[in-house]
Subunit: 260 residues, 2 copies
């Protein structure tokens, strides 16, 4: 099976997820929330997340029964398979609930060693970012992260401050925040797309799950960037993660984030 | 002159601004930044802001020579006129620079008393929010803010924490943040559109200029919401501003924000 076939299949998975997510985003969420009364909008979105993941899993089982599947809502199937699909139908639940088009559907494929294919779909804006070992693309546009030699010229993005807790991670993040040239919160998975396009230099996050980051790694790497943990290791398992478009800015950021 | 004519004219102004802003957003910004070298992306965007404002001013002068004009980049013309256009071609500079479609072009029209017409255009997503005394609309869709009776069920949005400084305003905001049901930063002017659509309940900001808020007031009010300063007064001048979809959540938030 070629990587091109996997990519075509991943596009199909994104279409499956979009059918569920787009039906809820902006259009039915207000109605559903009203009907649910005290039930929270987050619970409604989580239900859509679960549905979309189940639909994607069914498609994977039908096409690649030997593949593994890992997702937030329905656990890990076929552990130890040669290939594993890593799924998050709605990454950025708070953005989704608030009507902001910065959430995304994350679909990754890893072999035994590492993520080899990633897709981040934002179906409301119609933007689908993909990354393979051949490169990263937004539609037909080939993506390239930009040069950034110093933190003082870096655009730094993070999703929210509460993910850093109140311990050394928050202090380390605050130190990097202070050193960056331009700072913006509210990034969600969309920030990795903007890094791959060359508009953001650093994305720094904490408390990520494997399905929050694995699909994004091939996109950033395909654009010439790098994704690691705060101590420079593989970011596949999530946790404390930093993505950078330029290895020089990455190294300078790690020097700050490493101070416990 | 009827309000409908002013609204048609405001759409034309938004088209004028979009010609400049869309040419730079995502497409040429990377190239321009590279060419400019040490010159910062913010400076490039500010230049586009200035150009777009000058083009809108020229159109206003040609069509309504007796009207006043107030904008960030080129000051106040015809002070004391019966009608004044209040302009901000790129509200949300950091979002623009980072590639996020949450910036907007703000076009307001006020009479001697208050803002009577507002338009917020997000040309990348193709969303144009308008508000008049007849109501608020996104395209053909009539907008209605949603009910929210308690802060614990409220979705709270703000653009960034640094706008609150380090004094009592930050402490008051933090208290409201702790009381809200769901919190999200990175809102920019787009958050007011989402409030008018019924996906956000409270937008709280500080340090706003008149051109940051006047266009948004008719949109929120047209959707049944309310915009005031933190002490409940008229928000036209900017400063400490709160927008709410429901007067009950607004009153509860003011009770917290009023604690100096």
């Amino acid at each position: 099976v070629s990587e091109a076939e996997f990519l075509t299949f991943a596009h199909g998975l994104a279409d499956i997820a979009a059918a569920t997510t787009l039906a809820l985003f902006r259009t039915n969420l207000a109605v559903e929330r009203k009907r649910a009364g005290v039930v929270d909008a987050i619970a409604i979105v989580t239900e859509a997340d679960r549905e979309a993941e189940a639909a994607m899993r069914a498609a994977i089982r039908a096409t690649y029964p030997g593949h593994g599947i890992l997702g937030e809502e329905h656990g890990h199937e076929n552990e130890g398979a040669d290939f594993t699909w890593v799924l998050d139908p709605i990454d950025g639940t708070k953005a989704f609930v608030s009507g902001f088009p910065t959430w995304g559907t994350l679909i990754g494929l890893r072999n035994r060693e590492r993520p080899i294919l990633g897709l981040m779909d934002q179906p409301f804006t119609g933007e689908r970012f993909v990354g393979t070992r051949e490169g990263a693309y937004l539609g037909e546009r080939r993506l390239a992260a930009r040069a950034c030699s110093t933190l003082t010229s870096a655009v730094l993005s993070a999703t929210a401050l509460d993910m850093f807790g109140e311990g050394w991670e928050r202090r380390a993040f605050d130190a990097l925040w202070a050193a960056a040239g331009l700072r913006r919160l509210g990034g969600d998975c969309y920030a990795y797309g903007m890094l791959a396009m060359g508009f953001i230099d650093l994305v720094v996050e904490a408390d990520l799950a494997p399905w929050d980051i694995q699909a994004l790694i091939p996109i950033v790497e395909g654009a010439g960037g790098i994704v690691t943990t705060w101590d420079g290791g593989a970011a596949d398992a999530g946790g404390l993660v930093i993505a950078a478009g330029d290895r020089r800015a990455h190294a300078q950021a790690l020097a700050i984030l490493g101070h416990r």
